[in-house]
Symmetry: C2
Subunit: 160 residues, 2 copies
């Protein structure tokens, strides 16, 4: 099995990003749209100017997972991990762990000390939250009813 | 003393926003730039499309304070209060309290239930934090070292 990772984003990746996110069944249409916009900004402005760094995982030349992260403007050394997703048909192979480790390493290399990760408290996200905890992230805060009634924002922190 | 409030933002207000923020001595240059950009977006796209609602307080036809707030995309009924500031030379007249009360009322009218407010833990912001607590905001979370070393992000919530 050939596994590749690349930071270059090309126009075809816009649809790959949608397909990967939609396959998980986790995300609202509006969220998928936002991910597409971030990829588009990366293509148009580059990863530095856009502030959205992508790392795309390919298996047999097919994009099957990705992370998106970037420096938080106005902070000294905080980064946001905006997205981490693996296509439904390629989950359980440790790809998420690899993508997470690569993001942490890259952010550390860039001088980042804090990686902030936000997710929802909805039950569907329980495996996601467990994944972050197992990846060494610390649960820092819960913002009650942030996304909607009984849908809290959960904030994790990974020190690099 | 004539006091007026208006939601219309015009090109002159870009500089008024800077002057008000700079007079307080609280904000970094980069933060003032962001506030200017939000005002510019409001002028270009309107308050609804931009997502940045301004309420500008005038005394004797001179802008002396403002709030900026807006619905948080991807949430059901959460709003961010991005800015609340009163010119140094007009502080202590209760203008901040009035602007805060108006923002809460307007957000409530638009169906908003949660108003999220972020600030820094730096000592210089102690009066700001006291202001939020006195305005009925609840301290919800502290994100350690978010802005920089020993410069935490403090998150308040005001239920409408």
């Amino acid at each position: 099995m050939q596994m590749k990772f690349r930071r270059e984003v090309n126009q075809d990746d816009i649809d790959h990003v949608s397909e990967i996110l939609e396959s998980t069944g986790f995300f609202y249409h509006s969220e998928v749209e936002i991910a597409r916009e971030l990829a588009q900004e990366n293509i148009e402005k580059g990863e530095e100017k856009s502030g959205y760094i992508f790392n795309i995982a390919e298996i047999e030349n097919m994009p099957v997972g990705f992370t998106t992260y970037g420096k938080i403007p106005g902070t000294a050394d905080s980064f946001d991990l905006y997205w981490i997703a693996v296509h439904k048909s390629h989950q359980g192979k440790g790809l998420g762990k690899i993508l997470m480790a690569m993001a942490i390493e890259h952010i550390k290399m860039m001088g980042g000390r804090n990686i902030w990760i936000e997710t929802s408290s909805r039950p569907i996200y329980e495996p996601t939250r467990q994944f972050y905890l197992k990846s060494g992230c610390e649960l820092i805060a819960v913002l009650p009813d942030y996304y909607g009634e009984k849908d809290h924002k959960v904030i994790f922190l990974k020190k690099t």
